[in-house]
């Protein structure tokens, strides 16, 4: 009997017993749903973490020389936290010293930030991230200026009170107005807006557009940094290998400057995108390790259910088997019929599972800020698993069917 024929027959049988078929394939359905949904969500999270979280907060090929980590994704003990706090902070002269000793081509920017209020007319925008940085900062962060311009090294040198603002600040504080040239107040001093940065979107539901960047030496620096102290020195190179090289040079310079002995640990920290992702990578690895186990359990259960259903089908349809044998079906024909039926049953479960999994991923995407992203390979695996479970579960019942004696089978009720 042709395989296509067997499939047609199998689907006809499945359709004839819809409810029974549905219950028998629910195990496979759940297994595959789980596979698709978890893979999609983890992959989506993964992409989110890499694209948005790490690259937005730190940036590719970029490291920050800091006193201690500022992006903390794991658990930190109190002792560690205390030790971090006792470290010397990064001073201007530290930054200059390191900058002189990095010979790898790189772009630098001093960096300080804190939350401030920005006033315009009678209105106040609270909790605005005010950043003090150098002219290179916009390039390092890949900020696109949609209106006006960024500030120049001369303006940084001259500590001019100018601002480049995020799009949300522009929209909220200066609603319906042309922001360029407007004078806003920070800490009682006027700042002239000279540029607006393109919309950056959100991260975990929080806006990334509520910020203002001013020249590092501008007067409001006292609001965001103690005197002579930096939050970070940002260093960006052209590619990952030069970044590692520059980081090595920076580490050597800092250790020399702080006169650390070889056995002493660094009392400073390099924040990188990879570093910030460390904990997340551990979590996603565990999820991906646990996933096959969870999927396997539901598929084994699903397979056993299907095997039982097929054994029942064989005994219910003994007479049909007898008729088919009398009319010339060989053992292989009967075997193929029931194996294909089992595979088709299981495949239907897998296909429904893929549908449910996609729907689940879509729902997660729609109601949470996490962008679930469907992995095509997980669909392929779902289909392959579905068929394999069906075949594995169908072989034993099918071989029992194929070995039935036609005379006894014809006599069955």
């Amino acid at each position: 009997m042709h395989l296509l024929e067997a499939f047609r027959l199998a689907f006809r049988t499945i359709r004839a017993q819809k409810l029974k078929s549905f219950f028998s394939l629910i195990g496979v359905l759940i297994g595959v749903t789980f596979l698709i949904a978890v893979v999609s969500i983890v992959q989506g999270l993964n992409r989110y973490m890499v694209d948005r979280f790490a690259n937005t907060l730190i940036g590719a090929n970029t490291f920050e020389l800091r006193q201690r980590p500022n992006i903390i994704t794991g658990n930190v003990t109190e002792d560690t936290w205390l030790a971090w706090s006792r470290r010397p902070r990064i001073s201007y002269s530290d930054a200059d010293y390191v900058r002189e000793r990095i010979h790898t081509p790189a772009t630098f920017s001093k960096f300080c930030t804190d939350r401030v209020s920005v006033h315009y007319g009678g209105k106040v925008a609270k909790d605005i991230d005010l950043v003090g940085a150098e002219a290179t900062y916009f390039g390092i962060r890949n900020y696109e200026i949609t209106a006006g311009r960024s500030f120049t090294p001369q303006e940084v040198q001259g500590a001019l009170p100018v601002l480049v603002i995020g799009s949300e600040l522009a929209d909220k504080l200066l609603k319906g107005m042309e922001p360029l040239g407007k004078s806003v107040q920070i800490g009682g001093l006027p700042y002239r807006i000279i540029g607006v940065v393109a919309k950056q979107g959100t991260l975990f539901g929080l806006s990334l557009d509520k910020f203002a960047v001013m020249p590092f030496n501008a007067p409001a620096r006292r609001l965001i940094c103690p005197i002579n102290i930096l939050d970070a020195l940002i260093v960006r190179t052209s590619d990952p290998s030069t970044m590692v090289q520059a980081m090595g040079e920076a580490e050597a310079a800092m250790r020399a400057r702080r006169q650390l002995k070889p056995w002493q640990e660094n009392n400073f920290f390099f924040q990188t995108a990879d570093g910030a992702l460390g904990t997340w990578k551990k979590i996603s690895r565990i999820l991906f390790l646990a996933l096959p186990g969870l999927v396997a359990v539901s598929l084994v259960v699903g397979g056993i259910v299907i095997m039982n259903i097929m054994l029942m089908a064989v005994s219910e349809r003994t007479r049909e088997i007898g008729i088919r044998k009398a009319l010339g079906a060989r053992r292989a024909d009967i075997l193929a019929q029931f194996v294909v039926e089992s595979a088709a049953l299981s495949l239907s479960g897998a296909v429904a599972g893929i549908g449910f999994g996609l729907a689940l991923a879509w729902i997660v995407k729609a109601v949470t800020p996490l962008p679930a992203s469907v992995a095509p390979w997980s669909i392929v695996i779902g289909v392959v698993l579905g068929i394999s479970v069906g075949i594995a579960a169908g072989v034993y019942p099918a071989s029992r069917a194929s070995r039935l004696d036609p005379i006894l089978a014809l006599r069955a009720e």
């Binding site: 009997m1 042709h2 024929e5 006809r12 049988t13 004839a16 007479r319 049909e320 007898g322 008729i323 088919r324 044998k325 009398a326 009319l327 010339g328 079906a329 060989r330 053992r331 292989a332 024909d333 036609p406 005379i407 014809l410």
Partner: protein, 233 residues
């Protein structure tokens, strides 16, 4: 080539019951010619059913020879027997044995599926076969939507679809009323007239009377083997 379509020599079939072997057939020899219309009769326990199973290649004998259409079939493997059943034998059963969930058309197609005939040809041949038994209108009905006589006609169409050497009927009227029985017997008679070899196993004498030759079995042996009056005339 002889004109014998069936040649049986000293056929035995024993069943093991514990330590004993019970012989259902104790050496039957029988020749059936092409285009003969034979009824096999006998009381229950005579070996009638065993004979039917052996003739239909559903079972293999423990001794003796069975030649069907020039081929020795008594020593064939299961799969080879399946092929012989498919090509050489058309079954008509007392209980019709149609697939309940399949339409008349699909039931008739079934032997062609196992013969490896393509879907389109199957369909047209099955439709033509149903037309021949007067069921063109009922092609897409399921067995439970058909009367007993119609079901048996579907079964006959199915039995003939592969142009078998023998049409083997097992109590074909056992589940039918007398009017319908007569109707089915007319179909058998017409098939015989058209050249079909028909073998019918029955315990009803008036049904057997439609055949031109009656073989009576008793205790696993042929008791009588004679032509009926109708055939002699």
């Amino acid at each position: 080539m002889t004109s014998e379509i069936i040649r049986i020599r000293d056929l035995t079939r024993g069943y093991r019951m514990g330590d004993e072997t019970i012989l259902a057939l104790r050496g039957v020899s029988l020749d059936i010619r092409r285009n003969e219309y034979v009824a096999i009769m006998g009381p229950s326990g005579s070996g009638k059913s065993t004979m039917m199973n052996l003739l239909g290649c559903l079972d293999t004998p423990t001794g003796g020879e069975y030649w069907l259409n020039g081929q020795e079939v008594s020593r064939l493997s299961d799969d080879a027997l399946a092929r012989v059943r498919n090509r050489e034998i058309g079954f008509v059963f007392q209980t019709f044995n149609l697939l309940p969930r399949a339409t008349a058309l699909h039931n008739v197609e079934l032997p062609l599926v196992y013969a490896g005939v393509g879907a389109r040809e199957r369909r047209s041949r099955a439709a033509a076969a149903l037309e021949r038994v007067g069921l063109a209108e009922r092609m897409h009905h399921r067995p439970n939507e058909l009367s007993g006589g119609q079901r048996q006609r579907v079964a006959i169409a199915r039995a003939l679809i592969n142009e078998p050497s023998i049409l083997l009927a097992d109590e074909p009227t056992g589940n039918l009323d007398s009017v319908t029985s007569e109707e089915i017997m007319r179909v058998f008679g017409d098939l015989h007239s058209a050249g079909q070899t028909v073998i019918m196993v029955t315990h009803e004498a008036d049904i057997a009377a439609h055949a031109e030759r009656v073989v009576v079995l008793r205790d696993g042996r042929v008791e009588t083997d004679q032509l009926t009056r109708g055939a002699a005339a």
